[in-house]
Symmetry: C3
């Protein structure tokens, strides 16, 4: 069951997170909420200037905001350079996370050759296979399968029903959400005359420290070398990462995006929802790809890239789409007119 919500004094919060307090250090906060719904016992934040008027009408006991916005606030305020970052840190104090019990649940099936740190927690109905290693403070929630020759770094957490297939190495503090499958066979096939031959997938997967892998993501292991996510890579749900891909540190990918085999994505990239990146491409650092765009060639310069057409009322769209079918001809006709 959830423990009773903790209560913090504004003075404690200001000190803990090095924020400037405007208001009574003894005032208490028992939770966080949106500006619209927060009450006098709750903390909220103002990050997007669009919400200034909402902030002014808010019943929140205290608001985290920028120094520039402080004059707009009547009640208590905590001044932060980045209110959203400060809010994220404060909100974590109010997150009800049940402490995992160290040890192996009696219903789990753990191979005798697996090395489980005594401070790790292996939940009910987990399976840990031969030669795998679970680090200090790591938590496997219910129903996780860790195949042979995997390792999970300290303080990492597999929320529930995560599968590591084989030769998967997770760094420290990695968070993996339910349904994710890491280390499955890459899609390697050779065509022989009239049928497919499977190409053995002999590599593994390396996931750096502080990565987060969303629900139902799939990350295949490499054909010969490893598939790699450097540190602090953040994957939303249902993302597909094919074999031999390398994703640079601090890159974030939104839901349902996909990267084909052997592509290399730089650091600090932002890949939009449903976007696709073809195989064997190189994407530079600090590239943004907008939602549902398809990257078909390497991108050598930082910047924002897009493909697709705008959403329109269907009847109008049909007429435009029909013209697209003959766009090359249209361009030739324009050229002919220019020559007249």
């Amino acid at each position: 069951m959830t423990a009773p919500a903790p209560v913090w004094r504004l003075g404690e919060l200001a000190e803990r997170f090095a924020l400037e307090l405007r208001g009574d250090a003894q005032q208490t906060v028992a939770g966080v909420a949106t500006l619209a719904l927060a009450g006098p016992q709750q903390l909220s934040f103002l990050s997007n200037p669009q919400y200034r008027s909402q902030m002014q009408a808010s019943q929140a006991g205290v608001v985290v905001l920028r120094a520039d916005d402080a004059s707009l606030r009547d009640g208590a305020a905590l001044i932060a350079r980045d209110p959203y970052v400060a809010y994220a840190r404060i909100a974590a104090l109010f997150e009800p996370i049940a402490a995992a019990t160290p040890g192996i649940h009696p219903s789990a099936v753990v191979d005798a050759s697996a090395r489980i740190d005594t401070s790790a927690s292996i939940g009910p109905l987990c399976v840990v296979e031969a030669g795998s290693e679970i680090g200090a403070g790591a938590v496997l929630g219910p129903g996780c399968c860790v195949g042979p020759d995997c390792s999970i770094g300290a303080q990492s957490r597999l929320v529930a029903r995560v599968t590591l297939v084989t030769r998967v190495r997770l760094g420290a503090r990695v968070l993996v959400h339910p349904g994710a499958v890491i280390g499955s066979d890459g899609f390697g096939l050779a065509f022989e005359r009239d049928h497919w031959i499977k190409v053995p997938q002999l590599g593994g997967v390396r996931i750096g420290d502080d990565c987060e892998i969303g629900a139902n993501c799939t990350i295949d292991r490499g054909a010969l070398e490893d598939t790699v996510l450097e540190e602090d890579v953040r994957l939303d749900n249902q993302i597909q990462v094919a074999h031999n891909v390398v994703i640079g540190a601090h890159t974030a990918m939104a839901g349902c995006s996909a990267v084909a085999g052997s592509a290399r994505i730089g650091r600090y990239c932002l890949i939009g929802g449903g976007a696709g990146i073809l195989g064997h491409l190189n994407i530079a650092d600090r590239v943004t790809v907008t939602a549902m765009s398809l990257v078909t060639h390497s991108i050598h310069a930082a910047g924002e890239y897009s493909s697709g057409t705008p959403i329109q009322e269907n009847r109008q769209w049909r007429r435009n789409a029909a013209r697209f079918r003959r766009l090359d001809e249209l361009a030739r006709r324009v050229k002919a007119l220019e020559k007249d």
Copy 2:
């Protein structure tokens, strides 16, 4: 094992579903099939006028059809205003569903604080965590994980291997297919100088009565408030619903579609397969979005909306796509010609 198939008399079917019978009330039906394959012991239906000639050639013992089409039918017929709806109801009589045994399978791991209705069925290798509640007649098939502080309404059914992470509330008669993950962390990140900070996801998920959630769907819980599906929302497989999304009652989404954070979709919408809806948008009631379209701005009027270009033979498409790269320039050249 499957019980022997039930047998119904046409008179019973006509009475039970308030249909007009043309034919012998004593004639029996032992199953349903397509017009092409049905035999004399089977019932079929005619809904799409395209299949009229197939119906006339059908060996089906009885056909459900509209009054308008009855004259085309020689054999027995059941007259319905909507033959597909009537067929759906009749077909349900022939569906082999094994009755779930009430009680908790000995291999399941159920926290002592969970409240399980005595008529509920908790299947083999399920996990039910602290503070969760399972309603009357609810069924958890094999391998489901219900995390802390969840509730499952009466007669709801988790087919197999479903995960409810935390703070998930399912209404009555909700059907969730295998691999679905509901209540996972929303994708909330704050960027601090050179790395990501995780924003705690403190909300939950509320799923209304009579919703259906397809296989391997992901529905994240809210950051502060709840992610909401109103009643009778129908999700096909592999759909991604981000945190704080609200989907209006009776909306249906086809496979692999996705909704980004805080978008609000109206009632009675139809979202095509693979379509995407960006974050923070509002979609009016009765909006249809065609397959693989990307909605990038709010839609305020009912109607059908599309984006994309038509499928073409690749060589032809390449020429048109190359022209698209310079479409703005082409439009300027046309303007220049007009000024001549």
Copy 3:
């Protein structure tokens, strides 16, 4: 744990795979690697002519290559008509696959009416329900659920956490990766006045011999007849196959592609990543659909097909996309100019 790596002599490899050897038959190979990383104890291959110079610089003990390329190689070589196919076969010798133990793991839950071949292996925490049949040498890895009335052919392998819902028939040597859900309800709904009615899904799924189904794929069972994958169909990860689809033999689909209900795809097709095929269409044999294309009408001729627009720098793309919104008008203006 992994057994010690096997060692092969070049003479043995040449004989086993009917390859011509240039070099010392007694030379040994202890593994495979890329041209760039292979050392004197490792075998590599040259298939793509782009890597010729890499091959010439390679430290590999032996290289599999075409007769045409043999003159470029100083060290030992194995000559093959298709070096990639030959490599795939040789690499399989070095794949560390733990032999599955025949029998039923004590933690598995198997219905008394299920028929399990004595040579099959049912892993920890699996569930096999009533009336299902597991063939000779078949392997169910940890956490698999096989619902009622399924059958799994000889030598098939469910890697881990696979779900077969009901009425699923797998042929021989089928490989299914973790998280895949086969035989879930098709998305069948009838709209009655103001709400949805579920249409029972009474068919099954038939998967032919030698098929491979990727991680987190979903393949729904048919409404009345079966959903069918013919032999040697290869699905990458996160693919959605709707009810009543038929996929012809030897067709391969890349990650995140999807096929809507009742579509029929021919033999030897290649469907690109993220591509979509609408319902009730027919796709001929030997059709290639490029990545993220949407097929909206039947395709009657072999060939390559595409839709979409090229990736561009966002500012440039915005200007072009804005013009697309009025492309029909632009075409009319060109027509008017032509009439002048």
